[in-house]
């Protein structure tokens, strides 16, 4: 069992994949286990996050449980 990180836009290139299974736990621990460059990119000021399809307003206190999906959303460019 694990949680899932999803990388959108250029974060997919930073991660080298569009999603990755991680061990569930506090977000700090999850990010701490990633490559430092990727963790820095994911924590970028303009990167939003959505937990299980719902945008997160506050980053603090996030704990990923098994089967959770946390998406990292860089600035959008549609149209």
């Amino acid at each position: 069992m694990a949680a899932r990180l999803v990388f959108l836009g250029r974060l997919e290139d930073a991660a080298g994949m569009s999603e990755r299974a991680v061990i569930a736990g506090p977000l700090e621990a999850v990010l701490g286990a990633l490559e430092p460059d990727l963790a820095v990119a994911l924590l970028g000021e303009r990167v939003r996050m959505a937990l299980n399809g719902v945008l997160i307003a506050e980053r603090g206190g996030i704990v990923l449980r098994d089967d959770d999906e946390l998406a990292f959303l860089p600035p959008v460019s549609g149209g």
């Binding site: 959108l8 836009g9 250029r10 999906e69 600035p75 959008v76 460019s77 549609g78 149209g79």
Partner: protein, 162 residues
């Protein structure tokens, strides 16, 4: 609170024919517009915008989305338009996947009793589709893929409505 007042904003918005779609294959904007126009015969005016892939050297354009957010967000945007302007109908179509030069990317059309409402709603919808909806695009030039960052101009477009 419920009200019987027949012209409340809520009841007007509820009657607007809203059609938001994500399309993963090429669509025909003329056909879509013809269908929309046929369904909106009673409207005084219809304003439409068609965005297509520029022919400026890029070989391919790819539009990515995030399913849990993208279409729900488009639908919410359409509801905001319907509440903000007096509209009869609103269609908002957006491509995902890979596109070749000249292919349609986005079609927005607003039908309203009077033209200014239709112009404004289509303009608002496009500004928010470009810089606030959940899409990411990249293009391939000379075999190399590159992500496209939002332009300052896109944010300026959004700021006009603040």
């Amino acid at each position: 609170m419920m009200t019987n007042w027949p012209f409340s904003r809520r009841s007007v918005a509820a009657e607007v024919a809203v059609d938001t779609r994500l399309l993963d294959a090429r669509f025909d904007p003329a056909e879509e517009l013809a269908l929309f126009t046929a369904a909106q015969r009673g409207s005084g005016g219809i304003v439409s915008f068609l965005g297509q892939m520029r022919g400026d050297g890029a070989e391919l354009l790819e539009l990515r989305h995030y399913a849990p957010l993208t279409l729900p967000g488009m639908h919410e945007l359409a509801q905001v338009c319907a509440a903000r302007w007096q509209l009869d109908g609103l269609v908002m179509l957006h491509r995902i996947g890979q596109l070749a030069p000249g292919e349609p990317i986005v079609l927005v059309a607003a039908a309203a009793p009077h033209r200014r409402q239709a112009f404004a709603a289509a303009d608002y919808a496009m500004d928010h589709l470009k810089s606030e909806s959940w899409f990411w695009k990249r293009e391939r030039r000379a075999g190399v893929w590159r992500w496209i960052d939002p332009r300052a101009d896109d944010y300026a477009g959004l700021a006009r409505w603040a």
